[in-house]
């Protein structure tokens, strides 16, 4: 009877010991999205240049292109491996073809949020006939980073989308 109880406690302790580090690692990669809009400004020399302003402070109207950036920062002391970022194209927006950027990442897309494939490999079925999906139809973007993100480092993906 006593022996049985002891065994049970020991098992519980072991379980805790295994879970605790995993829980901590759950916060290793901090993910942040920003939306920005290109604005034309005139500098001191009277030249027109482009600068980025936060979309929340800009006049975003139908037709405005918003540059979305998602940054993954590894806040732990160990490298994070197999980092995969998935970002839906925001509702009411359309992906700008050819605008997706992600250094060191393999980029895939999805029309339905389930099947992901490289650009040009996706199909949609229209009136019972399969055809290649157009970039404007991509609803999700996925960046799969080839190399681990070292401790304290960041990786990012970026795309442009136009407000419908």
């Amino acid at each position: 009877m006593i022996q049985g109880t002891v065994k049970f406690i020991a098992a519980a302790v072991i379980a805790c010991a295994l879970q605790a580090p995993a829980f901590a690692q759950g916060n290793c990669v901090e993910l942040k999205t920003t939306g920005e809009v290109e604005k034309e400004v005139v500098n001191d020399k009277g030249e027109k240049t482009r600068t980025l302003v936060a979309a929340a402070d800009a006049k975003v109207i139908p037709g405005t292109e918003v540059i979305w950036t998602v940054t993954a920062k590894n806040t732990c002391k160990e490298p994070s491996d197999k980092v995969v970022i998935t970002n839906p194209v925001p509702e009411h927006m359309t992906l700008v073809p050819g605008s997706v950027f992600g250094a060191g990442a393999e980029v895939t897309y999805s029309v339905d949020g389930k099947t992901f494939a490289p650009a040009g490999k996706l199909t949609v079925t229209e009136n019972g006939v399969a055809r290649p999906a157009r970039a404007e139809e991509y609803r999700q973007i996925r960046w799969a980073f080839t190399n681990p993100i070292p401790a304290g480092s960041s990786a990012f993906g970026r795309f442009r989308a136009t407000l419908n």
């Binding site: 759950g26 993910l31 920003t34 006049k59 918003v66 160990e78 980092v83 998935t86 970002n87 925001p90």
Partner: protein, 330 residues
């Protein structure tokens, strides 16, 4: 022939005004809508898989101030001295939020032959959607009942002018309706902080936040003249109008003046004590069947015996139209 010439006239009017369009299109997502973006990440540290979600970045869609005015009547034919002549316009909110519009009429424009005289009031809402000024149509009063249109919505308006007595055939008079967004107008991109829908910034769109279209009155006094002649042939080789003799009628119809006599119809009763000779109806020497069918002519005994020929749209340039038919004396 008359159809193709009419299309040519229509095309000419279109290029003259360039403001005729079936449907003005509004742009996109409604002002005040929140555009949200949230990303997810999966990764592994050592042998442990983990995932996390980003912050949500939210952007509120600003209001675009855009309006399009389109003319619904290409050209209105009028006679000298006519009163309460209306031009029909449509004002469409092509922005992305609800907006009130100021309306104005200008009838003292250049490039025409006379200035129409604005009636008072000169703008009415086509309340009953009849396309005509009727008793139930509400007059527009600036600042009191400015039309408030949802995105993509339109309102039909009647601009009412009188025609001076001294104008002559072929004279044209222009009248213009302008609609301006109450929130503001100006160069595209001009913005009005906090004045858009849901407290967003309002931004002047590509139309400048105002729109206009110019209609025209065309003085047209066309008259149709018909000249009828007859030839009698009796059954004995003479020209006496005796029972059994045949009368061949020839009627020449011509239009004089400017403008178009639309869908003109010639109708002539068979004289009393005579009987129509079947199969004798002709238009410009081309036989027309007696049945009411695809060709332009027909003969009917209901309610009284008559022949009828559809002449279509006639102008002075159409030239004379010759109709022939025959009867016998009972």
């Amino acid at each position: 022939m008359s159809r193709s010439s009419r299309s040519l006239v229509a095309v000419g009017v279109l290029s003259l005004f360039g403001a005729w369009s079936d449907q003005a299109r509004a742009v996109g997502v409604a002002a005040g809508t929140d555009i949200d973006s949230t990303a997810q990440v999966t990764y592994s540290v050592g042998a442990v898989n983990a995932s996390s979600t980003s912050n949500t970045t939210s952007v509120k869609v600003a209001e675009v101030l855009d309006v399009v005015v389109t003319l619904q009547t290409a050209s209105v034919p009028v006679v000298p001295g006519a009163t309460q002549q209306e031009l029909v316009y449509r004002v469409t909110n092509t922005g992305n939020g609800p907006e009130a519009f100021l309306l104005q009429v200008i009838s003292t424009l250049g490039g025409d032959d006379f200035d129409p005289t604005q009636a008072s009031p000169s703008i009415y809402f086509d309340t009953d959607n009849s396309g005509d000024l009727t008793g139930g149509d509400v007059p527009y009063s600036p600042g009191n009942n400015d039309p408030v249109l949802a995105a993509d919505a339109f309102v039909t308006l009647l601009v009412v002018n009188d025609i001076p007595a001294g104008v002559t055939d072929g004279n044209r008079g222009f009248s213009r309706l302008t609609a301006t967004a109450r929130t503001g107008s100006g160069a595209p991109g001009t913005s009005f902080a906090g004045q858009g829908a849901a407290g967003t910034v309002a931004v002047v769109g590509t139309t400048g936040g105002d729109g206009e279209a110019t209609g025209q009155y065309l003085v047209a006094s066309i008259a149709l003249n018909a000249v009828k002649s007859q030839a009698v042939v009796d059954q004995f080789g003479g020209a006496r109008p005796i029972p059994g003799a045949r009368i061949d009628y020839t009627i020449v119809v011509s239009a004089t003046g400017s403008g178009t006599a639309a869908t003109s119809v010639f109708s002539d009763a068979i004289p009393a004590n005579t009987t129509y000779v079947p199969g004798t109806l002709q238009l410009n020497s081309v036989a027309l069947s007696d049945a009411a069918d695809a060709d332009a002519g027909d003969f009917s005994t209901v309610p009284t015996a008559r022949v009828r020929v559809q002449l279509g749209d006639l102008t002075q340039a159409s030239g004379s139209q010759t109709i022939q038919f025959a009867v016998t004396i009972n």
